[in-house]
């Protein structure tokens, strides 16, 4: 029994301060991404979420270049990107791709510049890896409170506009007719999205941040007919994938000599999220087949086939 325990939890796992920070930051980020992600998937704004990840990359790399806390860069520029998207017209279906594409292009250009300058000036080693693919084990302890505050702010924003957001997700016209300030609700949601993507970029890296935003939410939406349960299931999937990813990455240190050190946490989290989505899709399809009305087979008289 003890052997199994030590095989799962490598010695020192629970006492490691880096693990403590990773579990705390990862847990908060996972919950925020799951809640915001459910609305992102329902509103069909996954592309906007991905683009905000690239905007966060520009912010994170810019922060590293000038010596700021990366969280400020990730979240700050993400919020600016969300505001620009809203101004261009992300709330209107036809303008959505245009708004997202323009912001995405500008963000990738800025990221390329900032990362080039950061790596060539030699101010920060591993900046590219840190910004694009994340390094949750290197987050400073003091960041936990910042991440928790920002995550709480995003969740409070979603809670505040929960019902109008849900109604405007179903039909902006109906919501507007009921007196919902659709634009204000949309901006609040976009800011919550920017914060969640920024935090996810901190944990998983900008490139993989969308996985934590979209994957658990998409899996949860396949498993339930109730929005409240979808939020709960998405949170459970997201937190478990994140914490298990941290554990597997920690354990991978002793898996072999092909790699030098630990395998990236972000890889494990994304792999677990994708696996969960595939399993939930299979379960959803099986349930749909089981509950679909049975059709009687029509017997074709012999000799009349074809």
């Amino acid at each position: 029994m003890h052997d199994v325990y030590t095989a799962i939890f490598e010695p020192g796992f629970f006492g490691n301060p880096q693990v403590h920070v990773a579990v705390a930051v990862g847990g908060v980020v996972a919950i925020v991404c799951a809640v915001v992600g459910v609305f992102t998937v329902m509103r069909g704004q996954s592309f906007a979420g991905h683009s905000l990840g690239d905007v966060s990359a520009a912010g994170g790399s810019g922060a590293l270049l000038i010596g700021l806390n990366p969280v400020a860069g990730f979240v700050g520029l993400g919020a600016v990107g969300a505001a620009v998207m809203d101004m261009i017209g992300v709330q209107r279906l036809r303008s959505r791709d245009l708004a997202t594409g323009i912001v995405l292009g500008a963000a990738i250009g800025l990221s390329a510049l900032f990362l080039y300058l950061t790596t060539t000036t030699g101010a920060t080693t591993g900046a590219t890896q840190h910004v694009l693919f994340g390094s949750i084990f290197t987050i400073a302890t003091g960041t936990i409170s910042v991440v928790t505050a920002l995550g709480g702010l995003a969740l409070a924003g979603v809670a505040l506009v929960y019902r109008p957001l849900l109604l405007s997700t179903v039909s902006p016209d109906v919501a507007a007719a009921r007196g919902v300030p659709v634009r204000l609700v949309g901006v609040t949601y976009m800011l919550a999205l920017a914060v969640s993507v920024g935090l996810s970029s901190l944990a998983l890296g900008a490139i993989l941040s969308t996985a934590l935003l979209i994957g658990p939410a998409a899996a949860a939406l396949r498993l339930t007919r109730r929005i409240a349960w979808a939020l709960v299931i998405a949170c459970v999937i997201s937190v478990l994938a994140t914490w298990l990813g941290v554990l597997l990455s920690y354990d991978s240190y002793d898996w072999g000599s092909a790699h030098n050190g630990r395998l990236p946490v972000s890889f494990f989290i994304v792999a677990l999220v994708v696996a969960t989505y595939v399993l939930s899709s299979a379960a959803s399809a099986r349930t749909a087949r089981a509950t679909a009305p049975r059709r009687d087979l029509i017997k074709v008289p012999a000799g009349t086939e074809g």
Binding site: M42, G44, A159, L160, V161, Y162, R163, P164, L166, L167, T169, V170, S171, D173, V174, A175, A176, A177, R178, G179, V180, A220, L221, R222, T224, R225, R226, I227, W229, A230
Partner: protein
């Protein structure tokens, strides 16, 4: 004096009025019934183009009014003006004697297109419940009174049997029932429906029309329903607002749907035909041209 061109003498009913209001399903709305909606001299210009001009009409409590006109006539724009979502260039809208604004007294609304994603985890009863408090900020706690109100409304529109299904997986007719329940649960005095019969099969259309007529009659709700086809509405319609060429004419169906009135609205000759109890509005012919009339629309 109305002038109708009979397409087939054997098919034409003896009394034109009987074609329009021969059914007992039409609610009896007296002149003393309170006025719910008044549209006065409303004009709308979009991008320099005049969409609506001098549109005036009124709808009373319990009255079923059809907003009829060809595609692109400005029916949706007019509904958006009534809802307070679009500011008219001129004229005014009053609901229950109060000027209309987005936050004034509730108006039920069923929009033209609601693309409900089958994967969206929203049950029919959830969507109806959002009609009750979907405009309020903050989270809500479970409430037995709220659940009871939703159950009663689902029962009223005969939607109990699919109340727990994802709303995106329902048929077009079932979705319309849910959307109507959503619009009615806030107990509006006026219900606006934008082309609710589009994409519905004949049976579903008839069921929805009968449902709406019953609701108008029983709950004294004024209904304004837009459609480009008036025939399905003839058995239940008290009044018609016919929109064409940017202008509108309103009144009892047999006074408005006439060759003279519609020709004035369209700005060119159209003929109104009665065929087997159905009304056809067709492009008229100039007197110096031969050839068959080209149907423009059924109603």
């Amino acid at each position: 004096m109305s002038r109708r061109r009979d397409f087939d003498a054997r098919a034409v009913t003896a009394s034109p009025a009987a074609v329009f209001s021969g059914s007992s399903a039409v609610a009896d709305v007296g002149a003393d019934t309170p006025e719910i909606l008044r549209v006065e001299n409303v004009g709308v210009a979009l991008a320099g183009r005049r969409i609506l001009d001098q549109v005036s009409f009124a709808v009373r409590a319990g009255e079923f009014t059809g907003l009829i006109g060809p595609n692109g006539a400005g029916k949706t724009t007019l509904l958006r003006v009534i809802l307070g979502l679009h500011r008219p260039t001129d004229g005014s809208v009053t609901i229950g004697a109060q000027p209309r604004s987005p936050r004034s007294q509730p108006v039920g609304y069923v929009p033209q297109k609601v693309l409900l994603d089958p994967d969206m985890p929203i049950r029919a009863r959830d969507l109806v419940a959002l009609g009750l408090d979907g405009n309020r900020f903050g989270l809500r706690l479970p409430s037995p009174k709220r659940a009871q109100a939703v159950r009663e409304m689902l029962h009223a529109v005969d939607a109990e049997r699919f109340a727990d299904a994802r709303v995106g997986t329902l048929s077009g007719g079932e979705q319309q029932r849910v959307l109507i329940a959503h619009a009615l649960i806030s107990r509006p005095r006026l219900l606006l429906l934008d082309e609710p019969l589009a994409n519905l099969d004949l049976r579903s259309s008839q069921e929805i029309i009968q449902l709406l007529a019953r609701i108008a009659r029983e709950q004294q709700i004024a209904i304004l329903l837009s459609a480009h086809e008036m025939n399905p509405l003839l058995p239940v319609m008290n009044r018609v607002v016919y929109v064409a060429g940017g202008r509108a004419a309103s009144g009892p169906v047999d006074e408005i749907v006439t060759t003279e009135v519609l020709s004035r609205l369209y700005g060119h000759r159209v003929d109104v035909l009665n065929v087997h109890g159905r009304v056809l509005v067709v492009a008229g012919q100039d007197d110096d041209h031969d050839g068959a009339a080209q149907p423009t629309e059924a109603g």
